[in-house]
Point group: C2
Chain length 245, copies 2
DNA sequence: TACATTAAGTGTGCTTTTCACACCTTAAAG
DNA sequence: CTTTAAGGTGTGAAAAGCACACTTAATGTA
């Protein structure tokens, strides 16, 4: 039987299993794009590498897939290991496989992104002091294809935020309309009209207005809201409601 | 230095490279969901496996990633090898990694989907006689997690078709309004109003109406159209036009 | 104590888009 | 010359999107 790298017949492919088992295994990594939002700015969490290659440069947090876990679990483990965070909205983004993306060795990387609320998660369990939040616009150049990953995650976040109520993952449980609007303005990269925004949000009817005000920003104080997840899910289920901003 | 599978400090992770290089390499496969459309029905291309495991069952076409190619190239190679097709719209979908998804061995699979026009590609170079088109609703159960892949590809196709003119990849170069409408009805899984559909399409202003009729279906004959890709791209570029159906 | 400052809160009207809806035309076959 | 089967065409009502400006509440300062 002929074993070859060139495109052959289906039978070639079928019989190549042994060949592949021996020769074509690869290292699979996960890299996590962690988005945060603190009142005013969208941020991304980066670490400074303290090992080669590219030691001293900034990168996404990442790690390698282990034999006894799937990719979602690997991403969650990496996130928890490096930040102490668990139970976070984490979604697979894309798999990167350029041959020389990691100059040290052939590595394929599966990118995940997560949304976390900077203030209510103070990284109690954080293991690394080299991790830092960067405003998206001020983020440094990253190693390998990590810039590309952040770009793509940002595009996905933009799209997703328009059709799913994922923005609330980035905010504290209680938030003001202004904070919510700031968040959407950050995600979409443009200013929105205050009245139209509030009208739109209210027409969706998934927020609960509290009798409580946030007095930290203004003298008058702004009412706090919470996202009513149960109501949202009931609406989706019962009336095929779809969140559109 | 302690080497461990449990979540450790960042330094643990940093130093685990050697460990992983030796132990945690995996086989990476690509599987392709090939959509076609022949006048009336959305179809998917499947093959009957003639090797173990799951010999005799239907599956997506697939193959393994090689050392000297990236994933996009692997998917294109697999597609070309099995169907003779090249230069096809091919997009990465998702990476599947359940530990026992392939009972024979630990394999991670990256799914791609492609759209092809059934009629104008007659599989001249086809290497396998076990490949067959199935109407989506009548497709058999597939091996491993391939059903899940087809589901997800279908969801992606639905979403994408609403905002990008990808539907035209599935049609012959010249097509009638009715064919286009049938295609969209297949993708969206619901009937559309004829007049509203035509008005909508025409308002997008990216089709060229030919002086030629398709006489094969009706006695009266229906005008043929072609998608004006240059015009579409110019509109996107110059006026930020976005295709919305 | 009134004046200035700062952010909060609130509604209307125009424009655009969406959606429901029905009849006539053409050409071939019987 | 009647029947049949698909092609082709327009309007009006409802909903959604969007631009737009002033008043209120609380505090600090003159």
């Amino acid at each position: 039987m002929k074993i070859t790298h060139s495109a052959g017949s289906a039978d070639d492919i079928n019989m190549q299993l042994n060949y592949y088992q021996r020769e074509d295994q690869v290292l699979l990594a996960v890299d996590c794009i962690i988005f945060g939002f603190d009142k005013k700015n969208l941020k991304v969490l980066l670490i400074k590498r303290n090992f080669e290659p590219e030691k001293g440069k900034w990168s996404l947090i990442g790690g390698f897939l282990k034999k006894n876990e799937n990719l979602d679990e690997a991403a969650a483990r990496v996130l928890e290991t490096l930040t102490g965070l668990n139970d976070i909205y984490l979604e697979q983004l894309h798999t990167y496989s350029k041959i020389d993306r990691d100059p040290g060795q052939r590595t394929i990387s599966v990118a995940y992104y997560a949304l976390i609320n900077v203030d209510s998660h103070q990284f109690d369990g954080i293991q690394i002091d080299s991790a830092k939040w960067f405003k998206l616009k001020e983020a440094p150049d990253l190693i390998f294809d990590h810039n590309e990953m952040v770009e793509k995650a940002m595009a996905r976040l933009r799209r997703k935020a328009m059709t799913k109520p994922i923005g609330f993952e980035l905010l504290p449980e209680k938030f003001t309309m202004r904070q919510l609007q700031n968040l959407y303005e950050s995600i979409l990269g443009k200013k929105l009209d205050k009245r139209n925004f509030i009208n739109k949000i209210n027409s969706l009817d998934v927020l609960i207005k509290l009798d409580e005000k946030d007095m930290t920003v203004s003298k008058k104080g702004a009412y706090l809201y919470v996202f009513d997840k149960d109501k949202y899910e009931k609406k989706v289920e019962e009336e095929g409601f779809s969140f559109k901003l």
